[in-house]
Symmetry: C2
Subunit: 135 residues, 2 copies
DNA sequence: TTACATGCAAACTGTTTGCAAATAT
DNA sequence: ATATTTGCAAACAGTTTGCATGTAA
């Protein structure tokens, strides 16, 4: 989906120095299609890939990527924060038992009958989480 | 919306002893229409109402009420957990600047084109959060 | 050579828990 | 009388931060 040179450019474009750690984390995040993961997940992947990155740097990097619009945070209640490498408009299934997130293709699902935003506000985006349980 | 006697009955019905603290918190929660609040909010209200309740008990009570179906937890990313006293099917506006939740009447908003749930799963419920920003 | 990034450990925040004292049945 | 609930303080998890060291420009 993205090679190293493109990634370096993308980092520069958002004002982040393309350091070893940011490149390595960026490759883990953006080279395997759309992903949903938390800081611990990414840290474990990095260590498995023999990339020495501290957990603090993983947190900082995720937050910087999020602020730069490279990632989106997904709101699910619970202890951990999840990030989505797909920043385009789409929705999610959430499996509460397996604690797993899956994409729903945007084409499938439509939200209609949206009320007016309150005075002085506009709608920024709409998050939809379809919660699953065992049949 | 609910007087003390009804509340006591409701607590008994879900297997919770109607203690002083649970009744007091229940009245704060269920006597003022639909509310969205976190543990600290409720604790502050209780102290303001001169009800001596510890924060730990507020947390325990919120979790017990949630497990009993008296409350619903709302997923918004961030540090605190929010609870909704309206457990019926409805959606929310979320004002990220003011960190404030508002109900959207269910009649207004419809979600269509829902894809099949994955094998072995069924849809439990659908959460919709309409995120607002300053115009 | 200057500003920014990293790693570590310590700090911090929201939440949960263990245990003795208090309360509901 | 017995089981449950409470409050406190300590434990806990995830996340952030301060500061010295290392790295990019």
């Amino acid at each position: 989906m993205e090679n190293r040179k493109q990634l370096v450019e993308r980092l520069r474009a958002v004002g982040l120095r393309p350091t070893l750690q940011r490149i390595a984390l960026g490759e883990l995040l953006f080279s395997k299609g759309d992903r949903h993961l938390c800081a611990e997940d990414l840290h474990a992947e990095a260590r498995a890939a023999l990339v020495p990155v501290s957990l603090a740097t993983v947190y900082n990097t995720l937050n910087q990527f999020k602020a730069a619009g490279l990632l989106r945070e997904i709101a699910i209640e619970g202890d951990r924060s999840y990030f989505d490498t797909n920043t385009s408009n789409h929705y999610h299934f959430f499996d509460d038992e397996k604690h797993e997130l899956m994409d729903i293709e945007i084409g499938d699902l439509t939200v209609t009958g949206l009320p007016e935003a309150p005075e002085g506000k506009v709608i920024d985006r709409i998050d939809v989480i379809v919660r699953l349980r065992d049949a």
